[in-house]
Amino acid sequence: MTGSYYFALVGGSDRPLLETEFNQRREKEQRHLCQLIAHASLDLLEARARATSQCFLKSVDRFNEWHISAYLTPGGAKFIMVHDQINEDAVRNFFQDVNDIWLRLRLNPFYNPDGEIKNKSFLLRVRAIGQRYFGSA
């Protein structure tokens, strides 16, 4: 049974720059709930980040059956994953792959710092990485 995953890329000003889901099983309301959960966990994320010098923060929060895992880049961007199945390795690899392409997007002079991500190639890449680690979408 494949779990459902909600990924949010949050910029330095705590604004979501990218949101996407994998294996969404239930109704549309789930996305709003996941968005709420992800943003509510930002405080705990920051508290956890103070305690470690790792980028991958593992599981920072829980909400009923949802686990929240996070990754904080040195440049201040937060990757948040809300998922209902514990799968630490897949989530960590997903974050590292997304970090790879996020680095390159940052270097793009046409990308505004902390701006909304409109680069189609980036969005497609994120979906491809997700499908690789979390099964079929």
Partner: protein
């Protein structure tokens, strides 16, 4: 069209590549940046601010890349660690050498100083007497400020003529309080 040009930006290599850059091209570029700002500014302070804005853009983009090359998947939480990163890694990448000195102010724990006797970017910029208060190294000040703010250490950086060029970094209260815990 070579193969490389058709590669998407997301596939480009992150290797260090050729470490040598033409000094004349580098200083020409900076001189033109100063001229660009001078043409569009109303006062000397504005020129310094515009240069700092350009620096902020550079700093914001460099920090993730340099951390990725130097220590993958790790970040810095302490003021001293990130300042050392700026002094060594960032400065070497941008200016070819480490910053000369890094000091903490004796009187105020919020203030730190990065001192550079002769910034390479200002080497061929001459200041006429009526514009002697403008320090073009404000560009580097902007780089430092953006690097610190992106790394999670909100601060203000000002550039001064002191012992060569001094960048005074003033951290927010919250950062200093965090360090104490």
């Amino acid at each position: 069209m070579s193969r490389d040009e058709t590669k998407s930006i997301l596939e480009r290599s992150l290797s260090k590549g050729n470490q040598e850059y033409s000094l004349s091209l580098y200083t020409l570029l900076f001189a033109e940046m100063v001229r660009y700002c001078q043409d569009r500014a109303n006062s000397l302070d504005d020129v310094a601010d515009m240069l700092a804005e350009m620096g902020k853009d550079v700093g914001w983009r460099s920090i993730d890349l340099l951390y990725h090359r130097e220590k993958k998947n790790k970040r810095d939480n302490k003021i001293l660690d990130i300042l050392l990163f700026i002094k060594k890694t960032l400065w070497t990448k941008l200016f070819g050498k480490e910053a000369d000195k890094l000091e903490q102010a004796a009187d105020d724990p919020r203030n730190y100083y990065v001192i550079e006797k002769e910034p390479i970017i200002c080497k061929y910029i001459s200041n006429p007497k009526d514009k002697s208060s403008l320090n073009c190294a404000a560009f580097a000040g902007g780089v430092i400020e953006a690097t610190l703010c992106a790394g999670g250490f909100p601060c203000k950086v000002t550039t001064h003529w002191h012992k060569g060029t001094t960048f005074m970094i003033q951290f927010d209260e919250s950062v200093v309080d965090r360090e104490k815990v």
